[in-house]
Subunit: 276 residues, 2 copies
């Protein structure tokens, strides 16, 4: 399996502190040592750094821990391979352009017998179930939204439905972003927290390191962190309900939906937490 | 304007030495200081590093100069902005997936009144004429090669035709690769050389640095370097004829074509230098 991490923030923010804790799990404090990736969304563009080395001691990971790149949305992944060789092609996040925006996707889980028919609009470069799922999701969204550029109020229900369909094939915790919103699906395990003023001090779980958030952030800053396991040991991480999709924009939760346990397709009403 | 650099090699090779000379032109020995990019093709996948800082002193460029990443094809670009703001979205190389391969593209030139109709299969993320041209080229190739995965013998004539059509709008020197072949179009200025045993010593133009190629390479190595201006001062760089497209694979030139000066569409016969 793998682990996921993301930041969504009102103002561009660095992830060097969080990534220091997260990347330790890529070979030092945990066994996710088959590669890693970190993608920064800036407007419609996405800059992706991936390597198939261990995140705990890769020189690229060290560069990313020590050179802050500020972004409103950043997503990261550390890999423990289940499907596909250990090479750059199979490192998450995967990135594809749709509607003039670069979309990033990373997955924690393992999909069985998931070989959907792909029409060629997006095809996998590597061999993972994860990239196949991402390509199929974008293909479905392309067909559903042929005209104009949908935003999260239109996309969220469509993504929730796709998540439920793919989740029938196995564990499907994922992070998806176009830089405008962060879609986080907690199928079996995912947690999140919001940081806003007054800021305290954060202590990493995986490193003997703490950060004074009041010094690192401005008075108007507001941000959400999402991770497979809590990254800090003194903040109030909340776990997703099974199958829950939460959408974050500008550091706030804006939408969430928990599927009905009774039947696929009979989801509980979506909760739009604020207008688009 | 901008400058281009590429390596195509039989065996995976590092570009740290060449990139040291090339990136000096991004603010130190020349004025291409509006961003840079370096992409490494590994199989069907491409890892791209871009930054909108000066290549001569960006910390990311320094990382790339000092940490060799070995690849069979690498392409690089330093930018002097003509169209589009200075930001990551407008840094070359641009990357898109088509047919399960990641394609990289970078451009030196300036296209006027080039606003082709894009069908949405690939759309620009930034604002450059270059990315628009790349999206349109891939759109045309998608339509022409709907089935199967074409290789360079099929793609080269199609790319030559597209290069000539787009070149009617302005200077269009470019590098394009899918990791299997390198397509280099010398519209107005581009040069290349091949390195093969016996290897000598290379002296950079832009730095007081030399490299013993016999030490850096094995006895079976063979590689092609392409650049806007020669990178070394003691090797036999050859300039492209105006409008010439050359295709390189596994460190060898495999195809070339010079368009007829008389009329568009009446190109001289293409020269396939070896069977696919």
């Amino acid at each position: 399996m793998c682990q996921l991490f993301a930041l969504n923030s009102r103002e561009p923010a660095a992830v060097t502190f969080a990534f220091t804790g997260f990347s330790a799990r890529g070979g030092a404090t945990d066994a996710h040592s088959d590669g890693f990736g970190l993608a920064f969304h800036e407007g419609n563009a996405c800059r992706r750094f991936v390597d198939h080395g261990r995140a705990s001691d890769s020189v690229l990971a060290e560069f990313l821990r020590t050179h802050p790149i500020r972004a409103r949305t950043a997503v990261a992944h550390i890999r423990k391979a289940t499907q596909g060789a250990v090479n750059p092609a199979n490192c998450h996040p995967f990135v594809r352009e749709w509607q003039g925006r670069e979309w990033s996707f990373c997955h924690n889980g393992d999909l069985k017998d998931f070989h959907p028919r792909l029409d060629g609009s997006h095809l996998p470069v590597g061999q993972t179930d994860s990239e196949r799922a991402f390509c199929w999701m974008l293909q479905r969204l392309r067909r559903q939204f042929r005209r104009g550029l949908p935003d999260w109020p239109q996309l969220a229900p469509a993504i929730a439905e796709l998540a439920e369909r793919i989740g029938a094939h196995g564990k499907f915790n994922f992070l998806l972003s176009d830089g405008h919103a962060l879609y986080a699906h907690g199928h079996t395990r995912l947690c999140w927290l919001q940081r806003r003023p007054p800021f305290g001090t954060a202590h990493l779980v995986d490193h003997d390191l703490e950060l004074d958030l009041a010094t690192a952030n401005g008075p108007d800053d507001c941000m959400v962190l999402v991770a497979t396991e809590p990254l800090t040991r003194n903040e109030a991480w909340q776990f997703f309900a099974p199958g829950e999709l939460r959408v974050f924009a500008e550091g706030e939760e804006v939408w969430r939906q928990v599927p009905s346990p009774a039947a696929a397709g009979a989801a509980l009403p979506a909760l739009a937490l604020r207008p688009a």
